[in-house]
Symmetry: C2
Subunit: 319 residues, 2 copies
């Protein structure tokens, strides 16, 4: 029997569990859940990182700690939310005090930089991994399902660099001077909190790029019941990515590489000046890369990309 | 070098991480963290269960799902809180759809019974484990650090049965009719939500019994800067526990066995009628088992128990 993907597992068995509560505005299926209280909305996300699956076994402890919070902050960014509090479940195969001290320093630094308090959690014995849960607040959440036909598709930063950085890391080329920028993009991704907040009321949908740009834009399209079209002419990998891996591989990373934690979002064509102003305010580079249209699927100009061609990261095999 | 315990790890490296936020009323170190908003307090807890560490590899999937939420509900009970929303990080070595369906059914049932919505989470590939985070609301939280010298110490239910149930499970005696009650106590612990809520304003401190009664009462004592004394005459294991494992082993389980998820709490001697009324209202049996006094440590009458004699569950070795 073919294995189903984690998306199918979640859709079939893990959606809508528990009580139906009137205060839950958005449950499973977006970057974060939204609950509505008397005083506004809170958003909740949880991400798990497992050694050897989500990060290489030889990644420095400080980068593991940084990453555990960064990927959750990125979920807050994709909702346009302000992060507040986090809880951490840390599973360790044994006690290595130096490792734990460096891990703690890594998470502490990024938490302070974003005003997040680590308020609790759990430490257990087992295979190395971290589950981190974050709570934030938001007025106008950016959901995945709000894109309209005709909207432009945008992305921040330099997609593909993190995937190339991971490949360089795994190929033991991490210390070469020319690799540093890409390795850094993998080890210390910068969640786009300010950009997410400044896009509130401007973007019609948003997602963070964790699985890969094509796959993640595909989630916006699917949940908005639309097709997404990448303009081939706009698929421009960064100069240092092309210099390091060549044009063809750079474009493959650009479209399919995960772990960037950039924001991919949609906005009406008329909102282009507002998008550009919001990006300037957040001091974050953004670029239009395509559009949404009636239909379904992920397209590169007039060529539809099969799920395998999108090459987004999935933890389990595809049927 | 001696390994430090998880309590020492947390105290040395994992406390006070991130920003110092004025809205955090209680951080790392209790059953749950407390944050204060405009409209009251929210409590946050996160617990991780790892196969082979927190549950046997052959525990049915439904019991794993049930347990993942039950241990977190128990943290809400120990705070006197009302549980609201949960997020779940599920790590699976491979896709076994039947297992996931049964797991989902287990968590769904207990979530509905307590009005909790499962609003999000993450599914990843890796060694089998679940990290579950829960949020609740509370007016008058029950903390660990509020016990006063002279307070009585109480416990709900029948401590020790779960530890005996686990031993019977591991000894393959799980199907014997006489084992059923104890095995059930391990597989389906019942979080004491109603009791915790009814003790608000009555109990001075509370904790749930996860590590073992002596160890957990010791946490109340330590955080309240007191000693806790168990009265030997009050150390009464249940009849079915004694019948199954004998008097001596039953008393050892009573004092040192973990996984009960009963509530252990303190209250002034004058509050005894109020405690008994609260327990009746919650339809939960409670019993006085000792008291708090000036000093430190965990005592059985006039004999001080060393940490090894408390036999609480710890994931890492003791120095």
């Amino acid at each position: 029997m073919a294995e189903c993907s984690e998306f199918e597992l979640i859709a079939r068995y893990l959606t809508g569990l528990g009580a139906a509560r009137a205060d839950v505005e958005l449950g499973v299926g977006d970057d974060a859940a939204i609950v509505r209280g008397d005083h506004g909305r809170c958003v909740f996300a949880l991400d798990t990182l497992i050694e050897g699956v989500h990060f290489p076994a030889d990644l420095p402890a400080a980068a593991v700690g940084y990453r555990a919070l960064a990927v959750n902050l990125s979920d807050m960014a994709a909702m346009g939310a302000s992060p507040l509090w986090a809880l951490m479940g840390l599973t360790l195969p044994w006690v290595d005090e130096d490792w734990v001290a460096a891990f703690a320093k890594g998470i502490d630094g990024i938490a302070r930089a974003h005003g997040v308090a680590i308020i609790g959690g759990d430490v257990t014995r087992g295979p190395l991994g971290v589950s981190l849960q974050i709570t934030g607040s938001v007025d106008s959440p950016l959901r995945r399902d709000g894109a309209q036909a005709g909207d432009q598709l945008w992305v921040s930063g330099r997609p593909g660099e993190a995937a190339a950085g991971l490949a360089l890391w795994q190929a033991n080329q991490r210390h070469q001077p020319a690799s540093q920028g890409l390795v850094q993009a993998f080890c210390y991704p910068r969640p786009k909190i300010a950009l997410g907040q400044s896009l509130a009321g401007i973007a019609t949908a948003a997602i963070d790029v964790s699985d890969g740009l094509a796959a993640d834009a595909g989630h916006i399209a699917e949940q908005s019941h639309l097709a997404v079209v990448f303009e081939r002419a706009a698929c421009r990998a960064s100069a240092r990515l092309i210099a390091q891996v060549g044009l063809n591989q750079a474009q493959a990373y650009w479209l399919g590489g995960g772990d960037d934690y950039e924001l991919c979002f949609s906005a009406s064509a008329a909102a282009r000046p507002a998008v550009e102003a919001a990006a300037r305010q957040a001091r974050t580079a953004v670029r239009p890369i395509g559009w949404l249209r009636e239909g379904q699927g992920v397209w590169l100009d007039d060529q539809r990309l099969a799920p395998g061609q999108q090459a987004g990261y999935q933890h389990f095999g595809q049927a």
